[in-house]
């Protein structure tokens, strides 16, 4: 199927004023707000309804999570630079920044995995307590989103040569959409971190 058959991949739709992928990702992110909103709601209900609730920092590793947060914030900056490089028609620079974004995402997941392994090693499982149950659910849902983002970004990086040659504007739009998703995942973590680790 040729790309001409798919409308509004480059030009803006007259009714929305946006190309379709961008409009789609905003709607998708709105549904993600509902998902994480319901998880946060569950957390609050469980916490207010519980007789005792541990302080997150007594169970979880705050310095490690702070470092992880910094990694994720850096990746949000690097993905904007990757998109800006494409706007300048600089594919080499795009590849470098996209590689850094993926690397940061993988590093975050690696550290998270290490954190999980320490918990399991100390026999702290989701079934151990309500706090750990909601902690593993929320951070696990976030990690799954991050894995999805890493897969998409890796695909974009690997196919960048051919896709950028085919249609530079369409490829740039795809990276913009991937970047919006990445920002969202980053901002979700920025709020999960204090909620679970510091309160």
């Amino acid at each position: 199927m040729s790309s001409e058959l798919i409308p509004y991949t480059i030009e803006e739709r007259p009714d929305t004023g946006l190309y379709n992928a961008k409009f789609g990702i905003w709607l998708f992110l709105a549904s993600e707000v509902m998902l994480f909103g319901s998880l946060i709601s569950s957390y609050i209900i469980l916490r207010t309804g519980s007789v005792s609730w541990p302080v997150g920092s007594t169970i979880l590793n705050v310095p490690m999570a702070t470092f992880n947060t910094m990694i994720l914030i850096s990746s949000s900056i690097s993905i904007v630079f990757a998109w800006a490089s494409l706007k300048e028609n600089n594919l080499k620079k795009f590849r470098m920044f996209m590689f850094l974004t993926i690397l940061a995402g993988v590093a975050f997941l690696g550290i998270k995995g290490y954190e999980y392994s320490i918990k399991f090693h100390h026999h702290l499982f989701p079934s151990t307590s309500t706090f750990l149950g909601i902690y593993f659910t929320m951070t696990g849902a976030h990690a799954l989103h991050l894995i999805g983002g890493v897969i998409v970004n890796t695909y974009m990086l690997l196919t960048s040569g051919t896709k950028f040659k085919e249609s530079p504007q369409r490829f740039t739009n795809r990276i913009e959409v991937a970047g919006l998703y990445w920002h969202f995942v980053d901002l979700v973590w920025i709020f999960l971190f204090p909620l679970l680790y510091l309160s």
């Binding site: 004023g17 910094m70 914030i73």
Partner: protein
Amino acid sequence: MSQTDHVAEDVKTCLKVFPILAFLILITVAVHQSHLPYKFQLMIEIIKAVIAVGYFLHLMANRREISNTWILTIILVLALLFLPIANGLNHIHGTTDTSRQVQQEKLSEHQANGEEENVH
């Protein structure tokens, strides 16, 4: 505004927003570690939320359809967030009241039984 200016503007905004968020996270950790009152942490969280919402509104570039969808979504999330909490708190109060009531009933029953035994 030309496209180059627009890209430069976006990069500039990103370079402002994310370092500020990183700084605020470090402040939150510092407040937590130094055992300062929880309200300081809450204030920083509110500032962070305002920055995050502001950044997303900037990315939406004033498109009415997206803004309306997101405003509706956030209203629904807040409703879903606070209605169960309010309900949950009532439920907790209710449980406490009920348990008190049950205890009271048991106590009066016990007293009544004691009085009956005394009479016999």
